[in-house]
């Protein structure tokens, strides 16, 4: 059969890729190009997702990470080349968000749910809670600890993979180590996004 689901999906994704490339071609402003490039990344993830197997799930993660890394690097270059230095907006200046208990409750719920989910998804959910809390309070300047936690969690994640490879009989320890490691790593990494801009002082 020529037109199975995969072919239809592929045609749709290719079409959307072409549309975003045309938009990229017509846009002349550098900042808008950066935004459109983010849009262009999505079809490439969609093509991987079309595989529809657990392999696709394993491949999307590195694809996504590469895309985010490139986007962060490019936006940093944009900030430097345009000479944008002052970034006065440090937190959301909304009275309700700043003073009420709601951010704490919402953040706690998100972090708790993320811990229950574990893994990458849980990390993303918990990170959302952490970011929301940091943004609404906007008084966090001690990031060294978060960076260190991220590094240690990453090492634990890698160590768990070595357990899988070399000591398969301890797979349960490997699963737990990898799940907790990536949870903490994703939370820490996502909380750091946007806080490590600019030149090192």
């Amino acid at each position: 059969m020529m037109w199975n689901e995969y072919s239809v999906g592929l045609a749709l994704v290719m079409l959307s890729a072409v549309i975003s490339f045309v938009a990229l071609l017509r846009e002349k402003d550098d900042l808008h190009r950066l935004l459109i490039i983010d849009l262009v990344e999505i079809p490439s993830l969609a093509i991987i997702a079309l595989l529809g197997t657990d392999l696709a799930e394993a491949l999307i993660l590195p694809g996504l990470v590469v895309g985010i890394a490139e986007l962060l690097a490019l936006s940093q270059i944009y900030v430097t080349k345009e000479g944008l230095r002052e970034r006065p907006v440090r937190s959301l200046h909304i009275e309700v968000v700043e003073l009420a208990h709601a951010p704490i409750i919402i953040s706690a719920l998100l972090v708790g749910y993320g811990i229950v989910l574990t893994g990458f998804t849980g990390g993303a959910v918990a990170a959302l809670g952490a970011i929301f809390f940091l943004v609404s309070r906007g008084n966090a300047d001690k990031y060294e600890l978060v960076e260190m936690a991220s590094g240690i969690a990453w090492a634990a994640w890698i160590a768990s993979f070595f357990v899988f490879m070399f000591f398969p009989q301890y797979w349960y320890a490997g699963v737990m180590g990898a799940a907790v490691g990536i949870l903490i790593k994703v939370v820490a990494k996502m909380s750091l996004v946007g806080s490590m801009w600019g030149e090192a002082e």
Partner: protein, 218 residues
């Protein structure tokens, strides 16, 4: 098996994925390794501007922090190229290639000069849009054949990967490394700091040679 790169000399299996050296990839790997060592031990060149019509000249200063960052990026670029040379997995190849693209941008982006940063930004946009055909090629190869292993795909005598997929892969590598279009990187090469900038062209050349081998093999 269509052996464009010669018989594999060394195989390290991870499931059906092999890390392997053929005489061809071994040569490229050694080239990347030697150059990475050179980058580690060498000091950056100091660009000289001659004042037109006079005897004066200006040596451009390269700050220690800038030098450190660019050296780190050049080493990372060397490691990524080495990874792209030895991997036997189409998706890993795509990942290493896009890593080479990011590192190439990073090598020049530390230069505090407006035109160099502009060039790096434009190049970064191209490199980023090139991830679409690159990852699409790898994913479509997995969808049509059921495996990502280059050796597994090379096993059958006829080519199992469709031509369009090969085209996408090549297009992606061309975008990441700007491989045959070095003129597009001219502004980037004007950045001071010789050994690091040369890493850009070397890595692009290597990934381009490797993708040709991959496309002809699978």
């Amino acid at each position: 098996m269509n052996e464009i790169g010669g018989q594999p000399l060394f195989l390290l299996p991870f499931g059906d994925i092999f890390i392997y050296f053929t005489p061809f990839t071994l040569t490229l790997f050694l080239l990347a390794l030697i150059f990475t060592v050179l980058v580690i031990i060498s000091k950056p060149e100091r660009q000289i501007d001659i004042v037109f019509g006079g005897d004066a000249f200006l040596a451009k200063k390269i700050s220690i922090s800038e030098m450190r960052f660019r050296r780190f990026m050049a080493i990372a670029c060397g490691l990524a190229s080495m990874g792209a040379m030895v991997t036997g997995d189409l998706f890993d190849f795509a990942l290493f290639t896009s890593l080479v693209g990011i590192c190439n941008v990073g090598i020049v982006a530390a230069v505090k000069s407006r035109h160099v940063q502009n060039a790096a930004y434009q190049y970064g946009l191209v490199a980023m849009s090139a991830t679409v055909p690159l990852f699409a090629g790898a994913a479509m190869a997995a969808a049509t054949t059921g495996t990502l292993s280059i050796l597994e795909l090379a096993r059958s005598s006829a080519s199992v990967v469709p031509l369009s997929v090969k085209g996408l892969l090549t297009l992606g590598v061309m975008g990441e490394g700007m491989a045959p279009f070095y003129a597009a990187k001219a502004e980037m090469f004007r950045a001071p700091g010789a050994p690091y900038v040369i890493m850009c062209s070397l890595s692009s050349l290597l990934i381009f040679l490797r993708v040709i081998e991959v496309v002809l093999t699978v």
